[in-house]
């Protein structure tokens, strides 16, 4: 069976499942020659997964992939490369200590008399850069280039072997304004030569600047493919965020009077400016904003992972100088990190040992003798209470599913009886059911008088579980909403700021 040959790439009905979550649900996606097709969606919508299926890093459970009309059944990185697909990710994959030309032709060198034909490499690199109208000396060491220039080198590398489709994953996340213009100019030039682009982004404004078509993913489904002309900004937002379901507004317990956490004019050099807010006992506050707005940095400052450069933090009314996680924990702060696999759990260790880690001082005598019986009973209690599914008692944390891992991280911190609980993207990579359970836990925490601060880029989530929503943009708190006085797209618009 052949696909339509008007497309460079055609993906039909792609399904990809992971334990407990359907990452891609019958997704269709096409790329035409000479177009920039923007792939848009929130975190966890499935953009990266779709690209990984295309690159061969993941194998789809169902669905077909056609490249230039021909079915490709066993796509792998080698096959993708061979067929003209090139992938440029956020992290540069360049050898920093080699120069531009050597990087462009890495793995593609030609030889002359047993030695690498350097002259040819430099010549061809120069030609390629001229074709892209990029002014770069091919002998420059990559380490000395700016980030934009490094991205351009990667694009040159993609072209060196006649790329037909170039996939750019969040290319402008680290680029300044002028650099983006440069990148866009190159993309437009290459478009004219017939190269197709897949442009993954969460920056909505860029869709109109550079895109020809847009596909919006939400919860693993393709909710629509449109030409840029026919899609209004409001429609785009609505498709990305989705309608809020009735009954989404869960009952929240009333917050108490006493203040648990207060920040006054907290600054972090270069990242945070004049952050001031307060959270009462039993209150759930969400801090939301786009990626790069400074949410994680703020969480890290409160928890002592990074020292603040100025400002004061008060816990239960007392000013505290928090310079390390150990001090933060002593003040009654708990922190659930964004990346549970590398910062939340020790994957090689058992569930019990992971639980015990922050609670060990409490569970051992002054001389250091550990009371494992007490630890075991606490672990059992939390396993039951939070509904953590363990196949057997000696499971390693790395063997649990994402949702259960997250519950384990919650359990270990709950054991420290925190007064303030910071949660950074608590439902990332977790399926709908798992999310419900975590929201229930958050409500329960609030009921017990814990001040909860949720850092999230999921606006629906913020609306569902919090009393108040604070919007961060470029390191500052710019707006505050109370629950009930706001809708999702108002939140989103505030997070974006001015729209072009």
């Amino acid at each position: 069976m052949t696909g339509s040959s008007q497309y460079l790439v055609e993906m039909k009905g792609i399904v990809k499942k992971f334990p407990g979550v359907v990452a891609l649900d019958h997704v269709d996606f096409t790329v035409k020659p000479g177009e920039v097709h923007v792939l848009l969606g929130e975190n966890g919508a499935g953009k990266s997964t779709l690209v990984k299926v295309l690159s061969g890093a993941y194998v789809a459970d169902e669905g077909e992939i056609y490249i230039e009309g021909q079915r490709v059944s066993n796509i792998s990185p080698e096959v993708a490369l061979h067929r003209g697909l090139r992938f440029i990710y956020q992290e540069p994959s360049l050898v920093f200590d080699l120069d531009v030309a050597r990087n462009i032709f890495l793995g593609l060198e030609t030889f002359k008399g047993g030695f690498v034909d350097l002259r040819r490499i430099y010549r061809k690199a120069q030609e390629l850069l001229q074709r892209m109208q990029v002014e770069l000396d091919p002998r420059t060491t990559v380490r000395n280039l700016s980030i934009t220039e490094q991205k351009l080198v990667e694009i040159a590398r993609a072209l060196a072997t006649e790329a037909k489709v170039i996939v750019l994953d969040e290319p402008t996340d680290v680029l300044e304004h002028y650099a983006r213009e440069r990148l866009f100019a190159i993309i437009k030039r290459l478009k004219a030569e017939g190269v197709g682009f897949v442009y993954i982004s969460h920056r909505y404004a860029e869709v109109y600047e550079i895109g020809d078509r847009v596909t919006i993913l939400r919860d693993g489904k393709n909710v629509g493919t449109f030409t840029v002309q026919e899609l209004s900004f409001e429609a785009m937002i609505e498709k990305m965020v989705g309608k809020s379901l009735k009954g989404q507004q869960r009952e929240l317990p009333l917050p108490r009077e006493a203040e648990a956490l207060r920040l006054e004019r907290v600054c972090l050099e270069g990242r945070l400016r004049n952050i001031s807010f307060a959270v009462r006992r039993g209150e759930v506050v969400s801090i939301t904003g786009l990626m790069g707005s400074g949410k994680t940095e703020l969480a890290e400052v409160i928890f002592g992972v990074r020292p603040k450069t100025s400002g004061t933090i008060y816990i239960e009314g007392e000013a505290k100088d928090i310079r390390s996680p150990a001090q933060a924990i002593q003040c009654g702060i708990a922190f659930l990190p964004e990346d549970r696999r590398t910062k939340g759990l020790i994957l090689d260790q058992t569930v019990r040992n992971n639980y015990g880690l922050p609670n060990l001082c409490r569970l051992s005598s002054r001389w250091g003798w550990i009371d494992f019986a007490a630890m075991d009973s606490e672990v059992d209690w939390y396993v039951r209470r939070l509904g953590i599914k363990l196949p057997h008692k000696f499971v390693l944390a790395g063997q649990l599913s994402g949702g259960n891992q997250q519950k384990l991280v919650l359990a270990k911190w709950l054991g420290t009886r925190p007064k303030v609980f910071l949660l950074d993207e608590p439902t990332r990579g977790i399926d709908v059911l798992g999310r419900r359970e975590i929201y229930n836990i958050v409500s329960e925490l609030a009921r017990q008088g814990v001040a909860v601060v949720v850092f999230t880029s999921d606006y629906n989530e913020a609306l569902e579980i919090s009393h108040r929503i604070l919007i961060m943009r470029r390191g500052e708190l710019c707006q505050e909403f109370s629950r009930g006085e706001v809708t999702e797209d108002a939140v989103l618009k505030a997070a974006i700021g001015e729209v072009r």
């Binding site: 928890f303 590398t342 939340g344 020790i346 260790q349 880690l357 051992s364 057997h392």
Partner: protein, 314 residues
């Protein structure tokens, strides 16, 4: 329920495997060599295992915490000549021992400070210290005849009962330390993922100092037992012993990247290496072939360990 038992077995799997290997080796030698079968042989093996065993228990703790100390062999030599010199000068035996242990612990601590303070990988720092300490040992021991020590000192190393009791005490302590004490628990965490440990409020750097210091202490204790047994002290002691100690730990299931291992496994690893040497000697096979054999065992043991871990974490 049955799968639970299987998983519990898997946790001690590496130690069980090492024990299996130990038993197999012994069966082979018992069958092949008549002299191996004598009781005196086994007493000898245990006595021989003591010095390496003591040192290896310290290495185990350092490895579990994600660290590495290549200087303990040279440290052993330095402590040996220091203690020998003090004994030769007529100081009280207990004073010499305590001084030696304190200096050993202090040097271990110094290694830790340099590693933490400079951020240079422990491999390099302790490699450098290995040479520094060896040089110092040669300086301290130069031109001296350090032998013929008092009986009250020699008893620590002679015969079978005393050294083995010391080793047993060391392993009892290490085992308890690692399995039931807070600092030992933290060692696994720090070796497993130091960032997670730090975020959980663990004083990572302070504890790393403790582990290096412990490794130093064990090297010092090993020095004392060795000097007592041989009744002389030389700056040539312990060459390559740090590598044997690491090998013993690895054979016993301790991972070089940290977070996994235990005292039980290490003692088995020590016995594996000692039995192998003894058995090959009884069969008339020279020390060069013994080295070949041990090298092969080490690679096999680590290969097995890596292959299993890959399977478990699928």
């Amino acid at each position: 329920m049955f799968s639970g038992v299987l998983q519990r077995f898997q946790r001690f799997q590496r130690a069980f495997q090492a024990i299996l290997g130990l038993v197999l080796i012994n069966i082979v030698f018992l069958v092949l060599s008549p002299t191996y079968r004598q009781i005196g042989n086994f007493q000898n093996i245990f006595a021989q295992a003591t010095v390496l065993g003591i040192m290896a228990s310290g290495s185990t703790v350092v490895l579990i915490s994600g660290g590495l100390d290549l200087s303990v062999g040279s440290l052993l030599a330095l402590i040996a000549v220091i203690v020998g010199t003090l004994l030769a000068r007529g100081y009280a035996v207990w004073l010499c021992i305590v001084t030696g242990l304190l200096i050993a612990t202090g040097i271990g601590c110094t290694n830790g400070l340099v590693v933490i303070g400079t951020g240079v990988p422990p491999f390099i720092v302790t490699l450098g210290m290995m040479m520094v300490l060896r040089g110092l040992a040669e300086l301290v021991g130069a031109g001296k005849d350090l032998y013929s020590f008092p009986w009250s000192f020699r008893i620590l190393g002679s015969g079978y009962t005393v050294p083995v009791s010391i080793m047993a005490a060391v392993y009892a302590f290490s085992s308890l330390f690692l399995t039931r004490m807070r600092a030992g628990f933290y060692a696994y965490a720090i070796g497993g993922n130091p960032e997670v440990a730090r975020l959980a409020g663990v004083q990572v750097n302070r504890l790393r100092l403790v582990y290096y210091a412990l490794g130093g202490f064990m090297a010092g204790l090993a020095a004392i037992v060795l000097t007592a047994r041989l009744n002389f002290a030389s700056s040539t002691f312990g060459q390559g012993m740090e590598l044997n100690a690491i090998a013993a730990a690895v054979i016993g299931g301790t991972s070089l990247s940290g977070g996994i291992g235990g005292a039980l496994g290490t003692i088995v690893g020590v016995l594996v290496m000692t039995c192998l040497s003894a058995g090959l000697s009884h069969l008339g096979i020279g020390s060069s072939w013994q080295r070949v054999a041990i090298g092969v065992i080490i690679v096999l043991a680590v290969w097995l360990d890596i292959a299993q871990r890959r399977r478990v974490l699928k």
